[in-house]
């Protein structure tokens, strides 16, 4: 019996040490992205608050947290999620609703948090951390002339060669319509209005299908963020849509002949959401407020080319240029929010996709199955 109790004691000790019951647990995507979060604002916040912050990797989606809640054993406090997931998670009652101006600190000049956001949040349960771009890039060694617009992505007579596009409909419908001559409007509002009208979804799908069936074109569908730069570098495709941070890493970090085109880029946010009933909710809220403050968010842009979601963070970066960790690259021009990159863009409409994602997904797969 004594042996058993000793064993139990040792076990509980081991468990408590390995999960460190006091830590705030943040689930994020891993890789270079989580590294930028950890170095940029995770560690400084942890130091300032005296609360350990533990980063765990997950592969997106809400199934794990929903399972944790249903099993009554929640182990995550904060999750890094897509806009689409914040809406679903908020509706399902998985996340805590915020009062933005009360819960989050104002900008250094006193602007309330909600006015410091680049846009409105898609739901009350979401607080942005980065802005990233769905733009496209090309391999400059493989093309004779220089593409500069979204139309050029679909122009296979001037730029022959395969294209890499995202495996699902998200953002592909938007760029197809824009390239087909539909006006974008401010932040892409016309595009989404048109997509609600009959016929326009088919028009977008047909545009993609035509590109894929074009003997001068053809497509490769990518599913992991590392694929687009890799496909460009190997020469498998001449142009690829992708996430700007990955292209930046390949171009600046590895010196690859990859050039980004910002015309018609799709701006998308990545968000933090606070899990309702998480193991350490109080500390988690404190940590979240600090991590998403002006200075802290600017910190992550030292390590990755994604823009902080607060306008005031850009000013911090500007004052500190060259901001990139190599000590010689100016970071602000590489931000999706730099004025030069924002001439024509659309904000990925999370509500539209939360509304129509499933049906569009089915149509998209049916279209893919019919490609010859």
């Amino acid at each position: 019996m004594r042996k058993l109790s000793k064993l139990l004691l040792a076990l509980t000790f081991a468990v408590s040490v390995s999960t460190s019951a006091f830590a705030v647990v943040v689930a994020s995507w891993g890789g270079a992205y989580t590294e930028s979060q950890k170095l940029g604002y995770g560690d400084p916040t942890s130091k300032a608050l005296g609360v350990p912050i533990e980063w765990v990797d997950y592969s997106g989606g809400l199934s794990e947290i929903k399972a944790q809640i249903e099993a009554g054993a929640i182990t995550w406090d904060i999750i890094d999620v897509f806009a689409y997931d914040t809406i679903n998670g908020c509706d399902e009652g998985i996340f805590v609703e915020f009062d933005f101006d009360k819960d989050f600190p104002p900008a250094p000049d006193g602007t309330p948090a909600s006015e410091d956001f680049f846009t409105d949040m898609p739901s009350k349960c979401a607080v942005g951390n980065i802005l990233y771009s769905w733009n496209y890039a090309y391999n400059s060694d493989l093309l004779k002339s220089t593409p500069s617009t979204l139309k050029d992505f679909f122009n296979t007579s001037r730029f022959p060669g395969k294209r890499a596009i995202y495996k699902s409909a998200l953002t592909n419908l938007e760029i197809a319509l824009a390239a087909d001559g539909v006006k974008m409007g401010k932040g892409g509002e016309f595009i989404y209005k048109k997509l609600e009208e009959p016929g326009y979804v088919d028009r977008a799908m047909n545009k993609i299908k035509a590109l894929c069936e074009d003997p001068n074109g053809g497509c490769v569908f990518w599913s992991a963020g590392a694929q687009p730069p890799e496909l460009l570098m190997s020469g498998e495709v001449v142009m690829a849509t992708g996430w700007n941070g990955r292209f930046f890493n390949a171009a600046v970090g590895e010196g690859a002949p990859i050039v980004q085109v910002w015309d018609g880029q799709g701006l998308d946010y990545e968000y933090f959401a606070l899990v309702k009933g998480g193991p350490n909710q109080e500390d988690a809220m404190k940590a979240l407020a600090m991590m998403t403050s002006t200075e802290m968010l600017a910190g992550s842009a030292k390590y990755i080319a994604y823009a902080p979601w607060r306008k005031s963070s850009i000013a911090v970066m500007q004052a500190g240029e060259p901001w990139y960790k190599d000590g010689k690259t100016n970071m602000v021009p590489h931000m999706p929010t730099a004025p030069a990159n924002l001439k024509r863009y659309f904000l990925v409409d999370a509500e539209y996709w939360a509304d129509n994602g499933t049906e569009l997904g089915e149509k998209w797969e049916a279209m893919k199955a019919s490609i010859k």
């Binding site: 592969s59 997106g60 989606g61 809400l62 199934s63 929903k66 689409y84 997931d85 809406i87 679903n88 908020c90 509706d91 399902e92 009652g93 395969k162 495996k167 088919d202 894929c212 497509c219 490769v220 569908f221 599913s223 992991a224 496909l231 190997s234 020469g235 498998e236 509500e351 539209y352 939360a354 509304d355 129509n356 994602g357 499933t358 049906e359 569009l360 997904g361 089915e362 149509k363 797969e365 049916a366 279209m367 893919k368 199955a369 490609i371």
Partner: protein, 417 residues
Amino acid sequence: MSSETGKILTTDGIPLEESLKQSEKKNKIKAFLLVAPLLLFLIITYMIPIGDMFSRSIDDKMVTNMLPKTYKAMENWDGKELPPEEVFEAFYLDYKILVKNKTAGKLQTQLNYEKNGFKSVLKKLARKQKKFEEGNYKEQIMKVHKRWRNVEYWRAIKRRAPSYTYSKYLKGIDMYSNEDGKIVQVSEDRRIHRILWIRTVEVAFFVTLFCFLMAYPIAHLLATLPMKYSNLLMICVLLPFWTSLLVRTASWMILLQQQGIVNDFFVWIGLVADDNRPEMMYNKTGTYVAMTQILLPFMVLPLYSVMKTISPSLMRAGKSLGATPATAFFKVYFPLTIPGIGAGCLLVFILAIGYYITPALVGGASGTLISNQIAYHMKSTLDWSFASAMGLMLLTGVLVIYWIYNKLVGVDNIKLG
């Protein structure tokens, strides 16, 4: 003579029959206790989850309970035209309570599964209903969004009325039951699940076939080579087995893509022209090659273990009785390996039918299989009841194949060693 005296007693005076029964009972309990952990394990990790999946896939009480007044009012509505004022009023009253209790989000999600486009109009209604005036709710609701004037949306609400439903299973084969209660196909541009089922079975079938064709000679070689060579060969078979699936998939991408190593080699030796490189990746070829290589060990190992037990003298005996090598192989050797073939094929087929990461990465436009769809509904839409229904359909499919195999070959003929 009383019956008591007829019984044989043990030394302590208990009738022998009873005493035997007792000790047997003890043994039975002991035996049961020995297997109890396994049984419990099976029940907890296998039976309960499958039961839970099943109840999830048919249980629709949540929506039924959320809109009690609406469904009562809808009883008299035939679903042909827009419902009458009572239905609108009942819906408004039900929804108002949900908004107040902050559970409206769940209804939004559920109805959006039934008909896309519900989410945003319900959110809009949640905001606007606070300013509703009493009476004429039909007018007021229809003013909130034009979709409320579309009878399709009201039909979708009505479809969710029963507490139990098999609609998710219908959806899994691109069907639904319409307002007349007839089971019909969904619109043509959305029929995707049947394509995916066929594609999944096709991929699993061909991967199993290719695995068999490649593994049979390898396993034969392994079983007949002298120990020191066969050990080396065995390591060659197992080495990829120990490498991460993603690493192997990525390696195939680098090897087989149009600008990849294999194509470079072909161009270098002059087999193909530089501007006419064959496409071996991001299509079905890529899926077959990568999955066959990944699943090959699962075929080699059962085959090998069965072949190892076949005595070489049997083939010699056949030949000495006048059979040609081919006849001896097909009449003697091959039938003896059938248990291994059965085990290997079932193993590979079942693993292949649930694969989705590899096809998604290397399969290009044809890389979506039914498991991708299940994962999508698990992770993104959170429509777990649909995911459960499709999961069970997949499980049933596998069981059917197992049943056919049993009928054709016999399950007792499966051997893993």
